[in-house]
C-alpha cells in the first residue's frame, strides 16, 4: 500500500511555509500561485486547512481528460499529469471537487501535487507536523486512536459523574 499525505487541521498554524517550499522545489521561485498545496484560511476563526490533491483512486480528472494525459502511478499511489500530452483545456480544474489541479497561466499547463516523487517537501519543512507522509493504513489507526481517546475520556467523565452521584 502506498503512502499518503495525512493532514491534521488542528495543528496547522497557517504559516504557509509549505506553499513556499513547494513552489521553490517545483518551479525554482517563491510564488504561492505556483504551489501545489494551498492553505485555505479563515483568519477570524483561526481555522487553517492545507488543501492539496487527494490522489483519488477513481479520479474525476482522469476520467474527463480528453487526451488521457492524466494517469495513476500505482507505485507511489499518485495521480500524474503528462505535460507533453496536456493541451491545457482545464477540464480537470473544473471537475476536481477538491480544487487539487491548478492552471499555470504563464506556462499554460496544469500543475498538481506529485508527492515530490516520494519525498514531499511540505512534510519535510512543516514545523508543527500538520502534514505527515504516512502509510495509508496508518491514517486509519491514528484516527481510530484519536476517536478512542475521545470516547474513553467521555466514558471516564461519565464514570466519575456516576461515582459522584452515588
Amino acid at each position: 500500500m502506498a503512502k499518503v499525505l495525512m493532514i491534521d487541521y488542528e495543528k496547522c498554524t497557517g504559516c504557509r511555509l509549505c506553499e513556499m517550499v513547494c513552489s521553490v522545489y517545483h518551479e525554482g521561485v517563491v510564488n504561492p500561485e505556483l504551489s501545489r498545496i494551498k492553505v485555505v484560511k479563515w483568519e477570524w476563526e483561526g481555522r487553517y486547512v492545507p488543501m492539496t490533491c487527494q490522489q483519488c483512486t477513481s479520479a474525476p480528472c482522469m476520467a474527463i481528460c480528453p487526451v488521457k494525459a492524466i494517469s495513476r502511478d500505482e507505485n507511489l499511489g499518485r495521480v500524474v499529469v503528462d505535460s507533453d500530452l496536456c493541451i491545457g483545456c482545464r477540464m480537470c480544474v473544473a471537475v476536481c471537487p477538491f480544487g487539487g489541479a491548478k492552471f499555470d497561466s504563464a506556462n499554460k499547463q496544469i500543475i498538481k501535487c506529485d508527492l515530490c516523487d516520494g519525498d514531499p517537501q511540505c512534510v519535510r519543512f512543516c514545523e508543527v507536523g500538520a502534514i505527515q507522509y504516512v502509510e495509508a493504513e496508518e491514517v486509519t489507526t491514528v484516527k481510530q486512536r484519536a476517536a478512542a481517546e475521545k470516547f474513553s475520556g467521555i466514558l471516564q467523565k461519565v464514570a466519575s459523574a456516576i461515582a459522584e452521584v452515588s
Binding site: 483545456c89 480544474v93 471537475v95 489541479a101
Partner: protein
C-alpha cells in the same frame, strides 16, 4: 458610473472548490450544498423572467450601456445590418477574430466572410495537435450529479481595456450574459482566447443577442456559470484538433503605443423578438449551454470543421432560413432530457418543420416518401422483382439520387402476396 464598461470573464478555477472542500473537511456540522435541481430551478426562474420581459430588458440594457462614454452602442435588426455595422467600424482592417459563440459562428460569420473579412476562431489555435479520445457521451463520467457549482469563477475582471500590446485586428465576440441594470458583460472561457482578444484587439465588438440580457449582474454571473456547469461535457466532446484554416494572431506585430482602442456593443435581434408571439417562444429560454448537443445521436454528423453545432442552433438556423430542413432530427428526445431549462426541442423541431411545409408545400419526392403505405403497396405489386432490384447496387444508387434513400439503408423485403390474402386462402 465612471465610464468603464465592466467585463468579467469566468473560467474553471480551483479556489472556490478548494475553499468549499476545506470547509467540509474542517467543520463539524456540514452545510447542505446546492444540488443540481436547485441550480436548475434558479436558472429557470432567471430565464423565464428574461424571456417574459424581453422588450423592456432590451431598452433598459441599451440605456444603461449608453451611460458609459467610451462605449459605442448599436442595434441591429438582422444579421446583414450587423455585418454592415461591423464593416463600417472596421475601416481598413480586414482581419477578424471570433469566439465560439453560436450567435457569431452561425449567424454572423457567413455574412462577414462574404463582406470580404478574414474570419478565424482563435479558440482552435490554442490547442496543440492531439488524438481525440472521447468520442461520445457514454465515455464521459457522470458529471452533472457532482457538485460543479463552485467550479467556474470570475477570474479576470477587465475594468479597463489596457493598451499594452494592441494588434491590428478586430475581435467580434459573442457574450454569454449581460446585465440590464448596469450593463455588465460576462464571458465564459476555458482557455485564454477571449481574454487575449479583449486585451489585444484594436477594436472590440461585443455582440449581445437580445436573449442574453438578464435582470441584474448576479443573474448574469449565475447564468454564465451555468453555461459552464451544464455545458461542460459538450465542451469536452467538442475538443478536437481540427483541420480548419488558422491564423497566428501572436505573430501580428504590436501597433505603436498610444493607440486608442474602441469598444462597441452591438445589440442583435435577428428574429428573436418575433419569437415572442409565435409557437417557438420557448427557444427564448435557452441560455446557450449546448447541453442538448451532449447526447444527440445525429450530432456527430454535423460536427467538424469550424462550425459550432447544437440541436438548438440546428433549429434556430432553420427558423432563420439558413438551413433547409430539420428532417435529420429523429425526435429521440435526449436533448429534452438534458436541457437544464426544459425546452422541448423535439416538439419545437417538428412543429417548425410542419409550419414550413404548410407554408411552402412539399416537394414531390417528399410527398412520395411521406406515404410508406403506398410505397409498400407498389413494392408488393412488383413483388420479387422489387427485391431483386433492391439487392442490386446499381438500382440502389439510382434510388439514392432519385428518392434520397441512402444506398446502405436497410430496406424491407416485399412479398407479392399480402398477409390478408394469405390468411383468407388458409383453411380453418
Amino acid at each position: 458610473m465612471n465610464g468603464i464598461l465592466p467585463v468579467s470573464v469566468l473560467e474553471p478555477a480551483a479556489e472556490q472548490t478548494q475553499r468549499q472542500a476545506a470547509e467540509i473537511f474542517s467543520r463539524k456540522e456540514k452545510e447542505a450544498q446546492p444540488d443540481v435541481e436547485t441550480i436548475k430551478a434558479q436558472l429557470k426562474e432567471i430565464r423565464e423572467y428574461s424571456s417574459a420581459n424581453l422588450p423592456s430588458l432590451v431598452n433598459l440594457f441599451q440605456e444603461s450601456v449608453s451611460k458609459y462614454p467610451e462605449v459605442k452602442v448599436a442595434v441591429a435588426e438582422n444579421a446583414s445590418q450587423a455585418v454592415s455595422y461591423i464593416n463600417e467600424v472596421a475601416g481598413d482592417t480586414r482581419l477578424i477574430s471570433i469566439n465560439k459563440s453560436t450567435v457569431i459562428t452561425n449567424e454572423l460569420r457567413p455574412g462577414l466572410e462574404s463582406a470580404g473579412f478574414k474570419v478565424y476562431i482563435r479558440y482552435f489555435k490554442e490547442f496543440k495537435d492531439f488524438d481525440k479520445v472521447i468520442q461520445d457521451y457514454w465515455q464521459l463520467p457522470g458529471l452533472s450529479s457532482q457538485s460543479l457549482g463552485q467550479s467556474f469563477e470570475i477570474t479576470t475582471k477587465i475594468a479597463q481595456l489596457k493598451a499594452i500590446e494592441v494588434r491590428d485586428y478586430i475581435a467580434v465576440v459573442g457574450v454569454n450574459a449581460v446585465s440590464a441594470e448596469d450593463g455588465q458583460v460576462f464571458f465564459l472561457q476555458h482557455f485564454s482566447n477571449i481574454s487575449e482578444d479583449l486585451n489585444e484587439a484594436k477594436k472590440v465588438i461585443l455582440v449581445v443577442a437580445i436573449d442574453k440580457i438578464v435582470k441584474n449582474w448576479q443573474d448574469a454571473a449565475f447564468q454564465t456559470k451555468c453555461n459552464g456547469i451544464f455545458g461542460l461535457e459538450s465542451m469536452t466532446l467538442d475538443l478536437e484538433s481540427r483541420v480548419v484554416e488558422q491564423y497566428d494572431f501572436e505573430k501580428l506585430p504590436p501597433l505603436p503605443p498610444g493607440q486608442k482602442r474602441e469598444v462597441h456593443v452591438l445589440i442583435l435581434d435577428n428574429g428573436r423578438s418575433a419569437l415572442l408571439s409565435g409557437a417557438q417562444k420557448d427557444l427564448l429560454l435557452c441560455l446557450g449551454c449546448r447541453a442538448c448537443a451532449r447526447q444527440c445521436p445525429i450530432g456527430h454528423y454535423f460536427v467538424g470543421g469550424g462550425e459550432v453545432w447544437s440541436p438548438k442552433s440546428y433549429l434556430w438556423s432553420f427558423l432563420l432560413g439558413t438551413n433547409p430542413s430539420t428532417e435529420t432530427c429523429i425526435h429521440c428526445g435526449r436533448c429534452y432530457v438534458e436541457c437544464p431549462v426544459d425546452i422541448d426541442l423535439p416538439t419545437l423541431m417538428w412543429r417548425a418543420q410542419f409550419e414550413h411545409y404548410a407554408r411552402h408545400g412539399r416537394t414531390p419526392k417528399k410527398r412520395l416518401l411521406d406515404y410508406p403505405e403506398l410505397l409498400a403497396k407498389l413494392g408488393c405489386l412488383a413483388g420479387p422483382i422489387a427485391n431483386w432490384a433492391i439487392a442490386k447496387p446499381v438500382f440502389r444508387r439510382l434510388i439514392e439520387t432519385m428518392a434520397g434513400i441512402h444506398r446502405e439503408a436497410h430496406m424491407p423485403t416485399f412479398h407479392h402476396e399480402s398477409l390478408r390474402k394469405w390468411a383468407s386462402k388458409r383453411k380453418r
